[in-house]
């Protein structure tokens, strides 16, 4: 198989590309739209928005989710907010500035045209959500309020207390249910996609398993949209929901879709530290806390040791004995430095033995000064629900003791490769939201995930999918075709094989083993030796999994061990590709930090004072490309490169000093 990675970026000036593309895109007349069936997998912000909007346009939509209701998709857990270049604060924001911040935040590893379009439609998203009744925070004059987020020096983040994702998703879910009621969308909850069906090389259907009855069946359509989220759970512990998985994306990859930049994973700096082996997931504390909280550790290891044993109270540590790590290293951005940079600073401090949590892995996020300045009631109004959440989990009152935080896996910038139309290299297979790779480069800025999910679903795909559909005769693929029968048989065989192993180890024990390996060697910092070890170890774990996993019960009823096993089996394959990507990218950029590639004394930028030693060091001459990986059964994946061309911005050293 050979690939030409044509990103299909329209010609013309950057700020006119999207308008021009809309004008040049094909249209389908209203009477014909209802002849097309579109399968949407995933019902989060990207999938839910796409399903609702495509149905409004007149297409027939079938929407699938593994949860019991589309309202539970993991977009719901996003706390902080959503960016939009409204410039309601009159602080100098613009589409261009949002574009620039996002492309710089992504460490110059994303496509200019995609990012510009994202910034452009960001303003429409806010309008749409308000019209749906999303209760964004408001000022007393009745107008919308904003706050600041990491990686930006303007206030462009719209929020709904600490539940922005929930409110946006409920708006989207209501729009979806509206279309269900009108008959345009048929919803399939508790249904998991287990394969994509290709007819003559085009994605024309999916194979699903009903999670209640265990029945495996297929659905045929004229195009498939996957909005199936990210793969953060490859690390076992992450802030993702327990069910988040790579299965849909990986099954597509096995059918020939290229997986782009899998090594770009985001480690979020403000999570509640790990407390023990039994732990099933990590909890994020919104980045918005960094607006008022100050991150510090003691300057000396001795004081840190006393704090770990709780021999002294953090308030008793004098100002001159504290190291406000971000304020010291990045004075102009301070505690609002981007996520990758903040996470590494916390890791560094803990690696030096200055961590303050009982495990040694934690730094303070302290509201003492903000409480003095603003009063406790203001802090309560701004962050009350987050403080409450912290207290429930950590068992400590954050109004009395500073919070402790540590970085955790949170978001994955990598995903299936897509062109400007959000179509993968498989014709007909479109990928939206976190599941694609397109907009965040090597690092995502805070409050940009919600923006991208909704941009893709509400405003991009409804236009661009017509470019594909217009070339197709509607209704051609049938579930009775051989391709469907074959894919169903393969899926059934796999499910039966899993059940038949009847070994000794639980699914979780394999998942935990894989996760630890990935965190140690493909997590916040990576090096050649560690990645090579993973590439050797992962197939061994996979081998043991397929011989020794125990899945009790049968496949013809609800069986949660079977569901988990299928997902872990796919993580065990996908993880290897992730390590190959991390190994081949011999540079540090954004969330991908290769220990061999960091700034050091002697570098011109270090000597001139632009960056400190130990920062991520990019190699634009050799790695300014998207790495898109082709799956090959039983062999190492094959790398295909899409060069990144920067016409408007000049990739520079990413300094937040």
């Amino acid at each position: 198989m050979s690939f030409v990675l044509d990103s299909k970026i329209p010609a013309g000036p950057l700020d006119q590309k999207w308008s021009k593309h809309k004008m040049d895109s094909k249209l389908i007349n209203p009477a014909n739209k209802r002849k097309f069936t579109i399968l949407v997998v995933g019902s989060g912000l990207a999938g839910g928005a796409a399903a609702a909007t495509l149905s409004e346009l007149g297409y027939k939509v079938k929407c699938f989710c593994y949860q019991d209701s589309p309202r539970r998709a993991h977009s719901i857990a996003a706390q902080g907010g959503i960016n939009a270049a409204k410039n309601y604060q009159n602080d100098g924001d613009s589409v261009r500035r949002l574009f620039y911040d996002t492309i710089k935040g992504g460490d110059f590893r994303s496509r200019e045209a995609n990012v510009y379009r994202l910034a452009e439609v960001s303003t429409n998203i806010i309008d749409q959500c308000v019209a749906q009744g999303v209760p964004f925070a408001r000022e007393y004059g009745g107008l919308l309020d904003n706050r600041s987020f990491g990686g930006a020096q303007v206030s462009r983040t719209f929020y709904a207390r600490g539940q922005t994702g929930q409110q946006l998703l409920i708006g989207c879910y209501q729009a979806l249910e509206k279309e269900v009621h009108k008959g345009g969308v048929q919803m399939f909850p508790r249904t998991e996609m287990l394969d994509v069906v290709l007819v003559d090389g085009h994605a024309k259907g999916i194979v699903v398993r009903d999670l209640v009855t265990g029945k495996i069946s297929s659905h045929a359509g004229d195009a498939v949209i996957m909005a199936t989220g990210g793969y953060g759970n490859v690390f076992f512990l992450s802030t993702n929901a327990m069910g988040c998985n790579v299965t849909a994306a990986w099954r597509a990859a096995r059918r020939g879709a290229l997986f782009a930049n899998p090594c770009y994973t985001q480690i979020h700096p403000t999570c509640i530290p790990v407390s023990g082996d039994y732990q099933s997931k990590l909890t994020l504390m919104s980045e918005s806390l960094r607006n008022d909280g100050r991150i510090w550790v003691p300057k000396s290891k001795e004081v840190a040791a006393k704090l770990r044993k709780k021999e002294i109270h953090p308030d008793s540590v004098a100002e001159e004995d504290r190291d406000y790590i971000l304020e010291r290293k990045y004075p102009s951005f301070g505690n609002l430095a981007p996520r990758d940079i903040s996470s590494r600073a916390a890791k560094e401090a803990c690696d030096e033995g200055r961590g303050v949590a009982s495990t040694g892995l934690g730094v303070y996020l302290d509201f003492r000064d903000a409480t003095k300045r603003l009063g406790e009631s203001v802090i309560r109004a701004r962050y009350g629900n987050l403080f409450q959440m912290y207290e429930k989990i950590a068992g400590e009152d954050p109004y009395k003791n500073p919070m402790m935080i540590y970085p955790a896996v949170h978001y994955t910038m990598g995903g299936l490769w897509v062109d400007y139309n959000l179509m993968s290299n498989i014709p007909g297979l479109h990928v939206l939201g976190e599941a694609n790779f397109s907009d965040h480069g090597a690092n995502r800025l805070g409050a940009s995930a919600l923006m991208q999910g909704l941009a893709d679903g509400y405003f991009v795909i409804p236009t661009t999918i017509a470019n594909y559909l217009a070339t197709q005769t509607p209704g051609k693929a049938k579930v009775t075709d051989d391709a469907f029968k074959l894919a169903e048989a393969e899926t059934s065989a796999r499910v039966n094989k899993l059940i038949g192993i009847n070994g000794k180890r639980t699914v979780d024990s394999f998942h935990r083993e894989l996760g630890l390996l990935m965190w140690d060697n493909c997590g916040m910092a990576r090096n050649k030796a560690g990645l090579e070890e993973n590439i050797k170890r992962i197939p061994e774990i996979r081998e043991e999994f397929w011989n020794n996993v125990r899945i009790p019960g049968s496949g013809d009823i609800a069986n949660m061990e079977l569901e988990k096993a299928g997902r872990v089996a796919d993580f065990l394959e996908f993880a290897e590709t992730m390590c190959y990507d991390a190994l081949s990218r011999e540079e540090s950029c954004g969330g991908h930090f290769r220990e061999e590639h960091q700034s050091q004394p002697g570098d011109p930028d270090v000597d001139s004072g632009l960056v400190a030693p130990g920062e991520a060091k990019r190699d634009d001459a050799n790695y300014s490309h998207v790495a898109a990986w082709q799956y090959v059964e039983g062999k190492a994946p094959i790398l295909h490169k899409e060069p990144l061309n920067f016409e408007e911005v000049h990739p520079s050293v990413r300094s937040y000093k």
Binding site: I76, Y173, Q174, A175, V180, Y458, I557
Partner: protein, 251 residues
């Protein structure tokens, strides 16, 4: 470490009778969450050849609304303002016996063990719990100022996570608080006014059709709600419903 006895509802399929089974839960770390305690117990059940206890869960941070356990007779436990996944073992004592059952209601059939079918709630929303606005047709967000108190009141109602605890807590299995929260969320906003009458009539009728009971003002729903949504919304919905049905008869 805690040593506990669990009394758990086990029911393999929707058709099965179901019964309470007893499990020992030994050496449970106090820092673990309630669901992590069940994970530990399940690992042991699987290792000893049994089938694990099935329960719904996903985000495990109190926002998705998937988890739905009745713990010692109270949906999400007797602790106020939290979901099942936010219950922590440090709240229990060594030697405790804990009863774990599904969210029970006529309109919530059991799927397996502690998992129930709550799709009736989606159908109530589908009947009218939205503002009918097409993507792309919205005006500028700031062209419609909304007084902060109205926006805040709308938010308080919109905080509902659709878990169904209100329904499981009610002796009548009434869905009034769930339905009223949505009616109130949209009814507090100027955008929600054009469909206000139509919405409340359609949602209440769907609620009745699904087999949910009536409200007899016991307020168990508010007490069980993890987001502490007020029963005042029910009173508001009743007013809206009365007005709307009168208008309907007069037209």
């Amino acid at each position: 470490m805690l040593n506990l006895t669990l009394k758990v509802w086990r029911q393999k399929t929707p058709q099965d009778q179901g019964s309470i089974e007893t499990y020992d839960a030994k050496n449970i770390p106090e820092e673990a969450s309630f669901l992590e305690m069940l994970d530990i117990v399940n690992e042991r059940i699987i290792e000893s050849g049994g089938e694990p206890i099935h329960f719904d869960h996903d985000c495990r941070e109190g926002i998705c609304g998937a988890c739905s356990l009745t713990i010692n007779g109270v949906p999400h436990s007797k602790e106020k303002g939290i979901t099942s996944c936010q219950v922590h073992m440090r709240k229990f004592r060594d030697g405790d016996t804990i009863w774990i059952e599904p969210f029970r209601a006529r309109a919530f059939p059991v799927i397996r063990d502690l998992i129930v079918d709550r799709s009736a709630m989606d159908r109530i929303i589908a009947a009218g719990g939205y503002i009918d606005v097409r993507t792309g047709s919205a005006v500028d967000a700031n062209s419609l100022p909304i007084p902060k108190p109205d926006a805040d009141a709308a938010f308080d109602a919109a905080a509902c996570i659709g878990c169904g605890a209100c329904i499981a807590a009610c002796k009548n299995s009434s869905a009034m608080l769930f339905t009223a929260a949505k009616v109130s969320h949209l009814g507090h906003l100027p955008q929600g006014q054009p469909e206000r009458d139509k919405r409340v009539l359609a949602m209440v009728r769907q609620m009745d059709a699904e087999g949910f009971g009536n409200c007899t003002n016991q307020y168990e729903c508010e007490a069980a709600c993890p987001k502490e949504i007020s029963v005042d919304h029910i009173a508001r919905m009743n007013r809206d419903y009365t007005v709307a049905s009168l208008k309907e008869q007069l037209v």
